[in-house]
């Protein structure tokens, strides 16, 4: 098991390294850098910019060095917890981000909890009542959930909330708490506002999860050991929970790997629509203004979130299923 964890840790570190190169490459892709934009802006306002000042700024931000050097400065900074400098806000990235990262994590984590809590009972119901009206209805709802882009769902929900309650549901907390330190009241207020984005982001994931659980469980339910159990007089509920469900659960947990990137993606766009104080809206605006350190930090953070999440799910799977632990060793 320790070997397995070590192996996974090693892979994770490698993955993160490659991702950091990728992220750095992507944020360097747009032609020009922030300074060119900034200088053009100053010049369009009729201000003249002295060459010395440009050079000074370039040196200050390390933009005059080679790509590789810039990358290493950036990565070593990241490792030290120094996220770089946001050009747009003129502040260190750390100060700009504030508690956005924490709120993002809370949002994504609760969404995953929600997906599990909802898809579990529905999936079981659908599988045990195959081709009943309930099953058909639920799978249609599931398809609909898959087909509706979650940002549209957010818009519709906002629209109806606006119609019926007359209040804005945007935000993750009462306006009074914004910028304040964390307290019990603030946490409660966050909880109160959290459920709408959670439902919105979770819909498509839930739909997918229900379909998979249903398919897995259906496969198991037709096997002979179930018939044997039934013949021996096991109560239906106990029979279901004790054997087939446990078998069907395995892919369920393995699926976290697919689920996490999906949820993170969803939360970005839903946050933009509902203007949640998470990483999404700021990532968008920083990409639009080519504020590269800010954008890079967000991309890196979101990637870390998924990679670490997948690491945890791999470990969980290893704990659950010995075949996977040993399989990892055999593969090499």
């Amino acid at each position: 098991m320790i070997y397995y964890i070590g192996n996974r840790l090693f892979t994770m570190a490698g993955t993160l390294l490659v991702i950091s190169v990728l992220v750095f490459f992507i944020i360097q892709l747009p032609p020009g850098d922030y300074l060119t934009t900034y200088i053009a802006e100053l010049q369009s306002q009729g201000e003249t910019v002295a060459q010395e000042k440009i050079d000074f700024l370039r040196q200050q931000y390390g933009l005059d060095r080679s790509m590789v050097e810039q990358y290493f400065i950036w990565v070593t900074g990241l490792l030290h917890g120094d996220l770089g400098y946001s050009f747009e806000y003129n502040l260190p990235v750390k100060d700009v981000i504030g508690d956005r990262l924490l709120l993002s994590m809370i949002l994504n984590f609760s969404t995953i909890l929600f997906i599990y809590a909802v898809s579990f009972p529905i999936g079981i119901y659908s599988a045990t009542h195959q081709y009943s009206w309930g099953d058909h209805g639920l799978s249609f709802l599931g398809f609909l959930g898959l087909a509706t882009p979650n940002f549209l769902l957010a818009l519709i929900l906002l629209y109806f909330a606006n119609l019926t309650f007359g209040t804005s549901f945007g935000g993750l907390m009462d306006p009074d708490f914004i910028g304040q330190d964390w307290s019990v009241d603030k946490a409660l207020s966050v909880l109160e506002h959290l459920w709408i984005p959670v439902v919105v982001i979770g819909t498509s994931g839930t739909a997918g999860m229900i379909r998979r659980l249903r398919a897995n469980l259906l496969d198991e339910l037709h096997k002979q050991y179930v018939t044997t159990g039934r013949a021996k007089g096991l109560p239906e509920m106990q029979l279901l929970l004790k054997y087939p469900l446990r078998m069907a659960l395995n892919p369920f947990i393995a699926d976290i790997g697919n689920l996490i990137p999906q949820v993170v993606s969803g939360s970005v766009i839903v946050s933009v629509v509902m203007s949640l104080p998470t990483t999404g809206p700021m990532l968008l605006s920083s990409l639009q203004s080519q504020d590269m350190y800010l954008a890079g930090s967000f991309l890196m953070f979101l990637a870390c979130l998924t990679v670490v999440g997948m690491f945890v799910s791999d470990i969980l799977l290893g704990v659950l299923d010995p075949r996977i632990r040993h399989g990892a060793r055999g593969q090499k």
Partner: protein, 384 residues
């Protein structure tokens, strides 16, 4: 007949063509090609057939958009800004006169500065069919002005309302389909080519190539797609022409979609390359490319097509999301996502709910592809 034994010698003369006749007449199934069987099985799937019947007209419609749309993409009606959808009536003052709309009149409310529209029920404007209206260039080549439906002479007709510049939503929706529907197809082509290439390499060659490709796939799958799409499309130069942007976006969509496909190809190839006929081909000196393309891929083309069908909707949704956020396609290119970006803020949605109309085709098309892909997957499944 009944007193005859189970084993007997028939008195009838021997017919040497008996077996062939049996095969050609009585048993169609044994003579049918693989694709015919898949089609038969697919036909049994009622909902998938329904989806197919829905998707084919949609794709046909984008060929003749100019003819179907009552107005041009950019025709502006400055007197009818944010006009709500008009209702189609058939009876005017209790008398049947065919489909028509009532004239819309706009009054600017000077207190709220809101445009208020009212129907002038005295003046019916009958809808014309196969008529001449806005002149257009069919696919930018052939000039014409024939439309399927047009408003009455001297009147206007906005069946789905108008937008902020007074452009007809119904026409824009039809034109938007041209972009939104093809994005999925072009994107899946890119992803298909990449997936086949990398999956083929990894599966056939094995060894360190396989290892490298698998690590790459793992990394790609662990990245959240949307932020990456956002970052990549933000990197597309603003100076590009709309067509270049369109292809840029589809390539970006395809670039991030191939890992799933490559994985499927790899695992199939890993198993198939041990087959005897593959070894035979190798011994006869066939090169890897020929073996993969001619001998191995045809084994599971149908599966690949089914899984491709299932990933088209995610591409359509991705394009919609990107354009909605303003980082995808940009006007004057019009897709459903671009149309939806008008409905981005809650005020617009509350005042002009018809701006949300483009959602409907998005959802319908995505549902259609999902159901059709499901049907296809069931149809090609050999385990049945």
């Amino acid at each position: 007949m009944t007193d005859r034994l189970a084993h007997y010698v028939s008195d009838a003369p021997f017919d040497p063509n008996y077996d062939e006749e049996q095969e050609t007449s009585g048993n169609r199934f044994h003579m049918a090609s693989q694709w015919t069987i898949i089609w038969w099985r697919f036909r049994r799937h009622k909902i998938a057939m329904l989806a197919l019947c829905l998707l084919i007209p949609s794709y046909l419609s984008i060929v003749v958009t100019e003819f179907l749309a009552p107005y041009n993409l950019h025709t502006r009606h400055t007197d009818f800004i944010y006009s709500p959808p008009q209702e189609v009536h058939f009876y005017h003052q209790g008398e049947f006169i065919g489909p028509f709309v009532y004239e819309h009149r706009m009054v600017l409310n000077m207190d709220t500065l809101k445009r208020e529209y009212s129907e002038n029920t005295d003046k019916p404007l009958p809808i014309r069919f196969f008529c001449s209206g806005d002149s257009y260039e069919f696919w930018g080549l052939i000039p014409g002005n024939l439309h399927l439906i047009c408003p009455a002479e001297g009147g206007e007709m906005f069946l789905l309302g108008t937008d902020r510049l007074g452009r007809d939503m119904a026409s824009r929706l039809l034109y938007g389909g041209r972009v939104s529907l093809t994005v999925g197809i072009v994107g899946i082509t890119v992803s298909f080519v990449l997936g086949l290439f990398f999956g083929g390499l990894a599966g056939y060659l094995g060894g360190w190539v396989d290892y490298a490709v698998m690590r790459l796939i793992e990394i790609m799958r662990s990245l959240p797609e949307l932020p990456l799409w956002l970052a990549l499309s933000a990197a597309l130069p603003v100076t590009w022409s709309p067509i270049a942007i369109y292809f840029g976006i589809t390539i970006i969509l395809g670039l991030l979609d191939w890992p799933g496909l490559a994985r499927a190809v790899r695992s199939k190839l890993l198993a198939l390359r041990e087959e005897d006929y593959c070894v035979a081909a190798q011994l006869m000196g066939a090169r890897p490319k020929r073996i993969i393309v001619r001998h191995l891929l045809p084994n599971f083309t149908s599966h690949l097509i089914a899984s491709a069908t299932l990933s088209i909707p995610s591409m359509i949704l991705a394009e919609t999301a990107l354009s909605f956020l303003g980082l995808g396609l940009r006007p004057p290119v019009t897709s459903w996502g671009v149309l939806l970006s008008e409905a981005q803020n809650i005020e617009a949605v509350a005042l002009y709910p018809w701006l949300l109309m483009p959602m409907l085709p998005v959802i319908i098309i995505v549902l259609g592809f999902n159901y059709m892909g499901d049907g296809l997957r069931d149809a090609v499944d050999p385990h049945e």
